[in-house]
């Protein structure tokens, strides 16, 4: 093989490697906001069948990474489940313990999730149960969303209905690019 051919092959391999590295570093879904250094986190998908079945029966099975351990523990207390944000979500001991353990193990602050401080809930709420929609991270991310698009929107109704606007919510994808607000379309800011 002559030098030119060898050099061209080496150059080709180098460019291919750079391209592959670029793809690897470019972020999971190549969205226009994504890229190397983007800290937008996709939350780990719900990976416990009992949790998905029991807690997804009435609402989106919120990813455990959305609240810190202490908050989940308060919610999973048997008395709290009987008065679960205005509903009765009582569970048998077996499922309740299994779900509580799953939530605790995958809560905010645990490995792979956003830090617990991001989802801290104030302890000044008295006896009221902690809400994902009242965490620091959540309020910071949604403070620009007008009421008329949520509470005043028949297609949404409440910030608690993540999957009404976040079309990838069930898979843990809350990327802004996948937001489609009923009656309003994509979120532009």
């Amino acid at each position: 093989m002559n030098n030119l051919k060898r050099n061209l092959i080496i150059l080709g391999v180098v460019f291919l490697s750079l391209g592959a590295a670029g793809l690897a570093l470019s972020g999971s879904d190549g969205d226009e906001h994504g890229g190397w250094g983007e800290s937008r986190a996709d939350l780990a998908s719900v990976a416990n069948a009992t949790y998905g079945q029991e807690c997804g029966a009435c609402h989106l099975a919120y990813q455990p990474g959305l609240l810190p351990t202490e908050a989940w523990a308060r919610i999973m207390d048997p008395a709290a489940l009987a008065d679960h944000f205005g509903d009765d979500a009582s569970l048998g001991d077996g499922p309740r313990k299994e779900i509580a353990a799953f939530l605790a193990a995958n809560a905010a602050g645990r490995a792979g999730q956003l830090p617990a401080s991001a989802f801290a809930v104030g302890s000044d709420g008295g006896s009221a149960l902690p809400r994902i929609t009242e965490t620091r991270y959540f309020t910071r991310k949604h403070h620009e969303v007008p009421v008329r698009l949520v509470a005043g929107n028949p297609g949404v109704g409440s910030f608690s209905r993540c999957n009404a606007c976040h079309r990838g919510a069930a898979a843990g994808n809350y990327n802004e690019d996948r937001v489609v607000i009923p009656g309003a379309g994509r979120w532009d800011d």
Partner: protein, 119 residues
Amino acid sequence: MMKPGVALALACALGLGLPSGPRAAALEPGAAGWVREYPQPDGSPARSCATCHGRDLTLPGRQVNTGKAIEPLAPSVVPQRLGDPEKVEKWLQRNCRWTLGRTCTTQEKADFIGFIRSQ
């Protein structure tokens, strides 16, 4: 014109389903209980089984607080309905407490199950 006493007796007889009138004119206990509205102590609107599940069990329902769609309860539409006794008991326990404000009696549970099964 019928005397008031006779009218009352006739109404009671119909209600009891005695052969003095067509039994179909009186609602079965399960069907009647299904739509009975229960005022709530915390001030939220009165609710019945139909509030979430609807009156026509062949149609989807809607969780009144979260808005989530509930598959039709009628076994004629969703054959798995009533097939898992533990699941039935779990939901009767929760929903009786949440709607009636107390545990349903065995008779009430039987009536509700009978009503669902007939849809």
